[in-house]
Point group: C2
Chain length 351, copies 2
């Protein structure tokens, strides 16, 4: 598999997680439970940690929500970024209370002096700031047409304030619901600055449509070598967002520590239930951190040949299934044995 | 939204469906029921027609399966392509029996004289041929390393035979399970010939993972302007494949006759069930052929602003929801009224 040539960005740390400068592309998400219910927040972050979330963002709608940062921090492992809109004082309190990173939106914290106050404290405490531009909340008086340059210029307004204060622990995002605007904005921005990029398609929609939209948008950016940390924004649970984020990275060969199930679309030639078998193998192997390819092929006609590059494969025939490794027949088994046989094989391979 | 600049390809017809030369990008799929059960095949094709499938492929495993072509043709509206492997006589019989197009695999019909026989009859009957290269079934003695050039060269072997006979009603596909190999193969091929391209990622996997993989692979190709007809290959029903195909085209602004639901990922600020509401709107509007954008936003803080470009949007507040059109407040409604109000609005807009 071809490797993507990533743009070389500056390295910034959110807590202990490196972003940019060749660091592993991290997967992040955001809690969606009540901002004052620390128990629910902690529970949700722990679930996100289980599926490999590297960084979590929490909304801080007001000063009161910042009171929960401390207890949340003590109860979870991954770094926490505070999402700040409108009121710069929330940012100050969040830093005081131990937040690991800030996201501020140039569209709704526009006062230069207030931004400077945030930056001064962030610099003292070495807290990175994401300049998180969102097409929907951009200043329309200033940018009546929200195109890629409007997103970039809106980000640059804040970046200039930060740079004037010699603050460069900056991460940038330039999100729109339109994938073309988003891609063009990241491309244009990456020509003028090398800050690490947080990428995603904002408000991409439902689990079904939004997954397709995010996969295409994030996929094209990563393919172009842009993106140091990703967030899939869906109207569904943040745990799902993390899982889908990993799948996007897996398709692009960026995340490899996973079992990939390739399976044929089935045609009239299929001689056992390929769909159920592939789904089942994907399910039982989902927690296994190995870089292996499993092929689930419907028929003996094309199956073994097409499964030649898979680490293990199965092809159906009338009343039995043929088990292959690297395209070579190992044995004939009953269709019911396919899933356990493949699982055993995967487990037998050294990590 | 930016428009994709499509590569200008030759126009070829499968039945009455134009492929290439600026024609609308068509969506196709393949039946997966028993090849000898014409009733099941007809039933499945009719379901595919309902969701907008333009072209359907059926596997023709042997000569006997060709006996069903006639009755299938009489009972469905869309053109039918026969999928032929190994035996060139099946291709001949399929043409005799009224097939609208052929797909032959250079990996397993290798004999030049046999290919010439197919081409001679296809030319007489004006039946187009897809040269459908598949990485898995490529001739490994000839191409020990199955990279992009191997896919292109394997296709060119057959294309040369066809061109020698002055046959140019050719469609080409160069599929691999690896998206990088696939993309590179299509790019390289499109530099040397302008035949229309059938694109897809072969054996992309389960409905969940395969959708993400296909969206990224097909999405990148379309973004690059390559692809005249698409097929999503998943281990699930062909009806799903067609629906997902349309969603991919919709994300890229290629298919516009559809309601797009953009919805926020929800955070602690959301004040009603955004996920359920967005899913419900997507469901109830799925059959409506209008180019409209619906925004489902959790909160009043960012919602109305971010929904400014939507044709209609809703943002939640404590016990009510605010209904917007083009970012302007129309009225306050009860959350239970969101779905019917939006549906009524959509229905009220002229086609």
């Amino acid at each position: 598999m071809k490797k993507i040539i990533r743009k070389n960005t500056k390295r910034v740390y959110i807590g202990n997680v490196a972003i940019g400068g060749g660091a592993e592309i991290s997967v992040q998400s955001m809690t969606n439970v009540n901002a004052y219910n620390e128990k629910a927040i902690i529970r949700q972050i722990r679930e996100m940690e289980k599926v490999g979330c590297h960084i979590v963002r929490i909304a801080l709608p007001d000063l009161r929500a910042c009171d929960k940062i401390n207890i949340i921090k003590r109860n979870v492992k991954i770094p926490i970024v505070g999402d700040i809109h409108f009121d710069y004082r929330i940012a100050l309190k969040a830093i005081e209370n131990g937040i690991d990173g800030l996201r501020i939106n140039p569209g709704n914290i526009r006062d230069k002096e207030k931004v400077k106050t945030i930056v001064k404290l962030a610099k003292e405490r070495r807290i990175p700031i994401r300049i998180g531009v969102n097409a929907g909340s951009i200043n329309r008086r200033k940018y009546p047409v929200v195109d890629a340059m409007a997103l970039v210029n809106s980000a640059m307004e804040h970046i200039n304030i930060l740079e004037e204060q010699d603050f460069t622990d900056i991460i940038v995002s330039l999100k729109s619901t339109d994938i073309f605007t988003t891609i063009e904005a990241y491309e244009k921005f990456s020509n003028i600055r090398n800050y690490p990029l947080h990428i995603g398609i904002t408000e991409s929609g439902t689990r079904f449509y939004g997954t397709i939209k995010s996969a295409i948008g994030i996929g094209i950016l990563l393919y172009k070598g842009l993106g140091d940390t990703i967030r899939v924004s869906l109207s569904t649970s943040p745990i799902e967002e993390v899982i889908i984020g990993y799948k996007i990275l897996q398709v692009l060969g960026i995340y490899k520590n996973n079992i990939e199930v390739i399976s044929c679309p089935t045609c009239s030639r299929a001689e056992y239930d390929v769909e159920r078998t592939a789904e089942e193998i994907e399910r039982v192997t989902s927690g296994i951190k190995k870089n292996l390819k499993v092929a689930v092929m419907g028929c003996i006609v094309n199956g073994p040949g097409e499964a030649k590059d898979a680490d293990i494969g199965v092809a159906g025939s009338k009343k039995e299934a043929l088990l292959f490794t690297k395209g070579k027949l190992i044995k004939k088994i009953h269709p019911d044995e396919i899933v356990p046989e493949i699982l055993n094989y995967i487990k037998s391979i050294a990590d």
